[in-house]
Amino acid sequence: MLKLNSIEVTYLNVIRVLHGVSMAVEDGTIVALLGANGAGKSTTLKAISGLLHVEEGEVTDGSIEWNGQRIDKNNAEEIGKLGLVQALEGRRVFGHLTTEENLMVGAFNRSDRNAIKQDLDMVYNYFPRLKDLRTNIGGYLSGGEQQMLVIGRAMMATPKLMMLDEPSLGLAPLLVEEIYDIIKRFNTEQKTSVLLVEQNVRIALSIAHYGYVMENGRIVLDGTADFLKNNEDIKEFYIGLSAMGTKKSYREVKHYKRRKRWL
């Protein structure tokens, strides 16, 4: 179980990005972290995975615990070995490596060849399309295939908690649904916890068990997926439906009323 206890994150010692974020990911669940651009979602993920240190950021207050062990001072390598694996935003495949080599990089910290082979088959089972493309160069894959490859690469590390940063970014709706189905299936079958950062609230809440909404570096709302789906504010501001369940005309609303702020 992952726990964040009111963490604060500061970049370059001056720019505070997170102001006391607390959240938890129970074992085997899918948790969605929602919010607009610049809310601090990706920073939260990087704080957990230890990649913050690379970007001159630091957890200046609070603590991050994984199964009771503090990990906020650990580097990315140690955290990766604990089984917390992040797939970065923006489909960062290794452009000059083949599909299979990309997946093998994900298994870097493992030595059991048979298990790696099995997991390779497992990934190909989840993403049959990758199997057909195993010898293709990563840079030439389509956007959807690259996203699959990035998720597959995270799967290769036998994660206990898989952190996905905007897997829907820039993909066609049909493809987004396909990928989300696979994430859900992976979660149910492998019992891997998933922490999902998304702007696409509707699709994220369709598979998540629990969700947090972030704004300006704070958690402003949290609850089960059903609670959030039925929350009026979420419906209005993130899914774009008014109370009636119909599309809302923004013309009729005065501009200063349009956006609700929790702060």
């Binding site: 995975s49 990649l51 690379v54 001159e56 580097n75 990315a76 390598e77 955290i79 990766g80 070995k81 694996v85 992040q86 797939a87 970065l88 960062r92 495949v93 290794f94 452009g95 000059h96 490596l97 080599e101 990309n102 093998m104 990089v105 994900g106 870097f108 910290n109 160069i137 840079g139 030439y140 389509s142 956007g143 690469r153 590390a157």
Partner: protein
């Protein structure tokens, strides 16, 4: 006709050794973006170290050469750990400049430990000559070419199939994503410096067993630069192909031009090639073709 064949064989051999040294540069450049300006000095110090082991200490060749490899690995590790790592996240120019500092440090060290300017290595390779057609080629050249060829093959296998080799290529593509996979990039950097030093050392031993140890070995490093520039800074294949091209241009061109111009014109040719390449194809023959989907 005889001399042409002679020039071609010498050129190819020397070119392959250049390529070997150039590969060391490409490793470091690809994985960490640092241009290693101490290449020639790394060749120099390992050649002198070989001299120290084989002549001054008097070890048998195979133990001595083994020690040279170990020395080179240690040198690479120390360089990365104590010279470059403290500068991680600093502007890349600082990192490149410090390799220049390293170059002079090594040169000073060499002058301090081995104050004489010229020395000869004992014969490591058999001294026979072989007749190819009408040309006479010494075994040393052929063995040097053979060793380089074997190393090229081993390295390409390493990068295709080894876990660490694949991770090194991945690092060249995306450092942050590599870290997200839980791979320590510092280990990758350190590995690439060790590679660079070992290749420089092997190149140094091959060159100095043919031509003796002189300050000219530093220029071997400089010629490896012209290989890298011709082949493309970030291309392994480019280095392997550009090496023999430079070697051929140097020896064939030099061989025919020397009687017409002045002695030493041979050594200028690689640098003339650098200038021409810079004008015509600034990324080199095989420089980064950016994979970008539109």
């Amino acid at each position: 006709m005889d001399e042409l064949l002679q020039y071609i064989i010498t050129g190819l051999t020397v070119g392959m050794v250049y390529a070997l040294i150039a590969l060391g540069f490409v490793f470091v450049w690809k994985s960490s973006g640092v241009a290693n300006l101490a290449l020639g000095q790394l060749v120099l110090i390992s050649s002198w170290f070989t001299y120290g082991m084989l002549v001054q200490v008097g070890l048998p060749a195979w133990i001595g050469l083994l020690l040279v490899i170990i020395f080179a690995m240690a040198l690479g590790w120390i360089t990365e750990r104590f010279v470059l790592r403290p500068l991680i996240a600093q502007p890349i120019l600082s990192l490149i400049t410090i390799t220049l500092g390293l170059a002079y440090l090594i040169e000073g060290l060499v002058n301090f430990i081995w104050p004489k300017s010229v020395a000869a290595l004992p014969h490591i390779f058999p001294q026979q000559t072989i007749h190819i057609g009408t040309a006479v080629v010494s075994m040393e050249y052929l063995l040097a070419a053979l060793i380089s060829l074997v190393l090229f093959i081993l390295l390409s296998l390493y990068f295709r199939y080894n876990r660490m080799g694949i991770a090194m290529r991945a690092t060249a593509d995306d450092q942050l994503a590599v870290q997200a996979c839980g791979i320590p990039v510092t280990k990758i950097f350190s590995r690439s410096w060790m590679f660079a030093c070992v290749l420089a050392a092997i190149g140094g031993v091959l060159m100095s067993s043919i031509g003796g140890i002189t300050y000219g070995l530093v220029h071997t490093g400089l010629k490896a630069f012209s290989v890298v520039i011709l082949g493309g800074l970030d291309s392994f294949l480019g280095a392997i192909i550009a090496g023999p091209i430079i070697g051929l241009a140097e020896n064939v061109g030099g061989g025919y031009l020397t009687p017409l111009t002045w002695p030493g014109v041979k050594d200028v040719i690689p640098f003339i090639i650098i200038i021409i390449v810079m004008f015509l194809k600034p990324y080199g023959l095989f420089g980064e073709e950016r994979i970008e989907r539109i």
